[in-house]
Symmetry: C2
Subunit: 425 residues, 2 copies
Amino acid sequence: MRKFSRLKGLFNMSIEDSSTYTLGSFFIALASIFIVGKIVSSLFVKYKQPEVLGELIAGVLLGIVGLIPLYGEVGYHFFHLLAEVGVAILLFEIGLETDLNDLIKVGLPSLIVAAIGVIAPFFLGYYTIYVLADLNFIKFSSEGSLFLLALTVAATLTATSVGITARVLSELKKLNQTESKIILGAAVIDDVLGLIILAVVSGIIASTGGTGSDFSISISSIILISAKAFGFLILAIIIGNLFTKRLFIFVHGLKARGSLLLGALAYTFIFAYLAKLAGLAPIIGAFAAGLLLAKTHQKDLIEDRLKPVADVFIPIFFIMVGSAVDVSSFNPFIKENIAVIILAVVLFIVAIIGKLVSGLGAYNLNVNKLVIGIGMIPRGEVGLIFASMGLLSGVLSKSEYSAVTIMVMLTTFIAPPLLYKFFRD
Amino acid sequence: MRKFSRLKGLFNMSIEDSSTYTLGSFFIALASIFIVGKIVSSLFVKYKQPEVLGELIAGVLLGIVGLIPLYGEVGYHFFHLLAEVGVAILLFEIGLETDLNDLIKVGLPSLIVAAIGVIAPFFLGYYTIYVLADLNFIKFSSEGSLFLLALTVAATLTATSVGITARVLSELKKLNQTESKIILGAAVIDDVLGLIILAVVSGIIASTGGTGSDFSISISSIILISAKAFGFLILAIIIGNLFTKRLFIFVHGLKARGSLLLGALAYTFIFAYLAKLAGLAPIIGAFAAGLLLAKTHQKDLIEDRLKPVADVFIPIFFIMVGSAVDVSSFNPFIKENIAVIILAVVLFIVAIIGKLVSGLGAYNLNVNKLVIGIGMIPRGEVGLIFASMGLLSGVLSKSEYSAVTIMVMLTTFIAPPLLYKFFRD
């Protein structure tokens, strides 16, 4: 009967449409994403604004209309997976346009930028929570719970989401500038640092049962996680370098339609999988795949054929990010929202300052440090993981959780126009 | 909390991986589909065999290894939806290369071919079941149930699945030949006829409660279904003709990256949706969208940009079709399989003869009638719907159901090599 249900699923006109989504609504949702996305972002391009901001706003609009959740849980998962493919393709495309040697050259400034960009917002955020608690703005049951709250909020402020910035740098055709390379390198390192903080913070929360007292965290587990993450990146690049050129001479020789393109995508997805296995974000693997394929003879052909595929998948990611914004929580006419909005704005300011100073990490280079700082502003993935971890463990109240997610969203929306303003010729 | 779970889903590294699929296994499955698909089909191309047959067989292999069901129910639905996008893009691409006027020119022969291709296999199948019952090969509880069994099996033999044939015609670069146009036209008409038969047969089964006695079926409902289906096609073409050219001048003027391509895809998906609304298969709508866009000034640009996207999505459909084959039911060393295989082979022969004679419908044209007949052989979508309907209502036993699905699969696998043999220069 399993095979039977698979067949029935494959050949779509099921007799009764009792499934949680229908093929029809799925097609309509996909069409809406494309149409609304392109119309709004075309307006942005026309007025020399970031295309990606147009897609984010298109996503907000589609979220309000309710078109994206329309087709139920399965449909939602479907678009989530498409979005993941989209952001993986984006980072692959960025990697393909990046010279690995250039990236290694800016390794040290990237490392310093990443470190400042983690440490500064962490401590700023941590003390902000204590200041707000002193002002009686934040309620807490014990010193332990206040400590955990400060720790969790601080952690959400540390992680950089590279997707938004990478897309804007690509739009501005600035990927070859030193600033861009420092940002990309720092974002990759940041992902590893974020992983370590995640291990530490979740370890502390777990060991105290959410009360914040008497915690312990194993140093060896932190070292293990760090080694796995850095080890993956270094090994992937070294081993990949050994066989990738020859592999793609073989792939290019395959005679079936689209072999080179599908070979490149499969390569990307495998690296995304390996990155996830190492505990990193899949996009870090996709980026590494791009770096490796940038050195093959087929690079230009791959880039050319990838473009239309990227055009299809990438906007889905940004529209999904936009659609996740809960607009109702921004409504200042609802009384409960005011405290949330104030907290969100305070955290937002802290989030911006904390990352802006990271640009100073490139202190001995003749680069635009403001641009580097702005490029590090967008949070996203890891920040939201911290927030959801805090909510699930009871460390964050529901309104504190809302404030954190609003902060994350605001950083996502502010970075593209700022980059356009300060990094355009 | 709904928004929360959506955010957590979007930013993928969920804290506990309790979901039924993981992002990692999804990436691996996609990579496997691409790699196995391209390697096997490249071998087929190398030995001048149909590429699509290579993809079907790659699907069978992936199905045996268990890679496709690996990632659980959600993942399965995901690949099913990707497959639907793939076959919609295929028919859109075929439509884009087809001249509507040419199609109208072969309207009458197409209609005759479609009619013969429905009537001949229906009556052949119907009487085959009675003959097999006379030979005591088929068990039945009453005359009524035998009648229903014959009716259902006959119905499964009528429907043509255009995907396989269209792909092979495209591979052979024969889409501009009259034979191809007759096949495409007949397949579209066949979809409508299949819909009418579906209404009649399901009405009969429902009204008799699966016993086959004392049935009634409303003529008005049959007329309504036919009118809706034909009406959709005619209206879509007429209304679409009024605005499509101007619409795509506007779309081409949009400045966001990939607007033209995404506009064309959105147009396709909307037509697929409307077709589904009219009760037709979505691919018929996608085909109509292609026919309409074939007349725009942007046709060549769209075709060019669509190609890599088609390369990504189309193989997924054929691999999913292949992966649905239950290889264990072909094992002749399992005793219960022998009767199933014999029934399947008998039905397969009937299925081939019934469609081969349909080529004679183009009696007054100087065309290769054998090729037309072969082009009509593949069953698929609608055939399997009949079969699953029969199984659910108890009209078909599980082994009869297996035999019918094997017959459908065999027609799918036999058509590409036959077309290669008889329709190549």
